[in-house]
Symmetry: C2
Subunit: 375 residues, 2 copies
C-alpha cells in the first residue's frame, strides 16, 4: 500500500461557513445559501451564484457526469463535510490532504470582486477561520491548513498570513497571474509584502491551475477544450514568475503549481532558458536562468501522467508531488491506490516515496504516520 499525501483537493463550502462567522450587519451580504424552485443558490452582495459545487462528481460514474450539482444533496457528504471527507481519504489510503476553496474560487479571488472591501476582508478571514477551526480541526492529522488572503491589499494579506500561520496554517493559496484581474504585475514591487510574509513564515504558495480566471473558451466551444489545454495556464504563469524579480528578492520563496501537470516542464524550461539567453541583453531581466529558478523555488504536481513520469529525471524527481483532486472529475478517488500504483509501476521505491509523500511532507512541514512508514 502506498502512503499518499494529496497536495490538491477541494473543499465544497457548507452553507454555514460565513453565516456562522460574520457580524449581524453582514449576514445578508456575506455568502449564504437560499432555496428557490427546488434549487439552492449561493447569494452574496447583490449577486447569485448558480453553482453549488463546481465539478463535484466524486462518487458518480463517468457516464453520469454532466451539469454541476444544484443542491448539496446532489453531492456525497465528503464534498462538504470534513469528517466524511477524512473517512473517504483514509479509505483510499491517503494520510494528508491540502484543500483549495470552491466558492471563493481556486485562488480566493471571489472577494477581490466585492464592492464592499470591509465585507470582503471579513469574508476572507471567515473562510480562513472555517478552514483552521472547523475543517482541519475535524481531522487535524489529515488536513493541511491552507488559507486565502486579501488579494486587493498585499499589506493586509501579509498580516492575515501572519495571523493564520500563528494559528497553524501551513500554506497560502494564491492566484497564478494577477493581470486578468486588473491587478499589478508580478514584475512590480506591489506584491512584496505578500511574498515577504510567505517567505518569512516558510509556507509554500500554492497556485492552482486556472486560478487566474482567464479563458479563451467561446460559447460554441465544448468545455473539454479548456480542460484539455489548461496546463498552458500553469506553464505561462510559472515562466512568468521564473523571469520575474520575485525569486531574486525572496530567494527562499516556495511556489507550488497545483494541478499544472508535469510532462510539459522540460520543454518549457528549455524554451525559457533559450529565450532568456537570447533576450537578456535588451530586456530588463534579473540574473539567473529560468531553469535554475525553477529548481530552487518551484514544485510541480501530478494526478496520473505516465509521460510526465517517464521524463521525471528532466523535471527533478524531488520536485514532483502527487494529487488526488477530490471531488473533481480528474480525481483518482476512490481508486487512488490502484491508479497511483499502476502509474508508478517501474519507478524505484525511493522515488515513489518522494512523489507520493516525502517531498510534500518536507514542503508542508507535515509528518507521515509512523505506523505506515517503510523507511
Amino acid at each position: 500500500m502506498l502512503q499518499l499525501f494529496s497536495v490538491d483537493d477541494h473543499i465544497v463550502e457548507p452553507p454555514h461557513v460565513w453565516t456562522d462567522r460574520v457580524a449581524a450587519k453582514f449576514r445578508e451580504t456575506a455568502p449564504h445559501v437560499i432555496e428557490e424552485d427546488g434549487r439552492q443558490y449561493w447569494v452574496y452582495e447583490d449577486r447569485r451564484h448558480t453553482n453549488m459545487g463546481l465539478n463535484a462528481v466524486a462518487g458518480k460514474p463517468r457516464e453520469q457526469w454532466g451539469n454541476d450539482p444544484i443542491r448539496f444533496s446532489d453531492m456525497i457528504p465528503g464534498c462538504y463535510d470534513p469528517k466524511a471527507r477524512a473517512e473517504d481519504m483514509r479509505a483510499d489510503g491517503i494520510f494528508a490532504s491540502v484543500n483549495f476553496p470552491t466558492l471563493p474560487r481556486f485562488g480566493g479571488a471571489l472577494f477581490l470582486s466585492f464592492n464592499d472591501k470591509e465585507l470582503a476582508d471579513v469574508c476572507v478571514r471567515a473562510w480562513n477561520d472555517f478552514v483552521l477551526d472547523e475543517w482541519c480541526a475535524a481531522a487535524p492529522e489529515m488536513f493541511v491548513p491552507m488559507i486565502i488572503c486579501q488579494l486587493w491589499d498585499p499589506a493586509l494579506a501579509s498580516k492575515e498570513i501572519e495571523r493564520c500561520v500563528s494559528k497553524g496554517a501551513r500554506a497560502v493559496c494564491f492566484i497564478e497571474d494577477p493581470l486578468p484581474f486588473g491587478l499589478p504585475s508580478f514584475h512590480t514591487a506591489h506584491w512584496d509584502p505578500f511574498w515577504g510574509a510567505c517567505e518569512d513564515a516558510g509556507v509554500p504558495v500554492c497556485m492552482h491551475l486556472s486560478s487566474s480566471g482567464s479563458t479563451f473558451l467561446g460559447d460554441q466551444d465544448p468545455p473539454v477544450v479548456e480542460i484539455a489545454s489548461a496546463f498552458v495556464k500553469s506553464a505561462r504563469a510559472s515562466i512568468n514568475l521564473m523571469v520575474s524579480p520575485v525569486p531574486h528578492k525572496f530567494p527562499r520563496i516556495k511556489m507550488v503549481w497545483s494541478e499544472g501537470g508535469i510532462g510539459w516542464i522540460p520543454a518549457a524550461l528549455e524554451r525559457a532558458d533559450r529565450q532568456y539567453a537570447r533576450h537578456k541583453y535588451w530586456s530588463t531581466l534579473p540574473e539567473g536562468m529560468p531553469s535554475e529558478v525553477a529548481a530552487k523555488n518551484m514544485w510541480w504536481c501530478m494526478i496520473e501522467e505516465p509521460v510526465g513520469l517517464k521524463y521525471r529525471y528532466d523535471i527533478g524527481v524531488d520536485r514532483i508531488m502527487w494529487e488526488c483532486d477530490y471531488p473533481h472529475a480528474d480525481s483518482t478517488w476512490p481508486d487512488s491506490q490502484k491508479i497511483a500504483s499502476e502509474v508508478l509501476d517501474g519507478v524505484p521505491s525511493d522515488e515513489v516515496e518522494m512523489i507520493t509523500h516525502k517531498t510534500a511532507c518536507s514542503l508542508f512541514d507535515w509528518m507521515a504516520p509512523a505506523r505506515q512508514s517503510r523507511a
Copy 2:
C-alpha cells in the same frame, strides 16, 4: 552538410508590395510607406504602423538587439529582397523556405481589421500576387509559395485559395484561433469552405505561433515572458482543433504548427486523450482520440530543441520539421549548418533526413536538389 528545408521564415515586405498592385483609387488607403522625422512608417486606411520589420535582427549580434527597425536601412537586404534572401539561405545550406507575412501579421489578420472590405480583399490578393509573381519567382527552386486569405469571408477565401493554387501556391497561412478576433469558433460550420478548399487542393494550413494575436502581457512585464511561454498558444490551439469537428469533416486536412515547438507535445497529447476519455460522455465531441487526430492531421516544427528531439519517438519522428526563422531573433541563420548538426548529433541519419527536409518535401510537394541528395 545537411540538406535543410526551412518551414518557417519571414518576409519583410518591401514598400512597393501594394502600391505596385492596387488600383489608383486604393493608392492612399492600401499599405504604403511614408518618411517622417527620419523614420519610415507603413500607413494604411487611417492608421500608421510604427514597425517596419518586426524583430528583424538577422545579421546583428545578440548584444545589439533592441528596438525593432525603424527604416529599411536598419535591416540587411535579405529581410525584404528575395534575391538577397535566397543567397543568404543558400550560403547557410538551406534549399527551400516557407515564408510568413510581416505587415499582414503571421496569420494574415491585418486585413480583417480593415473598415473597407473591398480594399481588404484587394490587399490580400496583392500580397498573394507579390509572393507568387515576385518573391517566389526570384528563386523558384528556393521559395515555397504560401498565401494568405480573406479571414472575414471563408467562401471568398476558398476562391482565393483555388486561384492561387492554380498559380502555384503550395501552402495556406492561417490564424491559430479565431476567437481573439471575434470570429466564429472552429467548432462551428462557419469555416467549412476554407477547410474544404485546403483539403481539395492538398495544401497544408500553416498556423504560426501567436497568429491569434492574444496576449496577457501587461505594460509592466518584460516581453521575454511572452516569448518564452509562447508555445502555450500552439498547444491551446492545436488541442482545440484536435477535439473540433474539422479533422472529422475534412479527414485529409494537413495542419502545421509553425514555430510551436515540439517538446511539450507528448504531455499535451496525454492530457488531451485523458480529458477526452473522461468528458466525452457529456460533452459534444466527435469520435477519435486527440492523439489519433494529431498523428493523422498534424505536423510540428522545431528550431533547436534538444529536449524535444530526445522525446521524438513520443512525438512521431516523421511529424517533426526543421525551421530557420530568418530574420527573427530565434533564427539559426547564419549558422544553421552548425547549430542543426549539433542539435541533431546522435540522431540516426534516416531520422535526420526526415526532420531536416524529407517530411517537408513530402508535405509541401517539393523536390530536394538532386545534386545534394544522399539517398
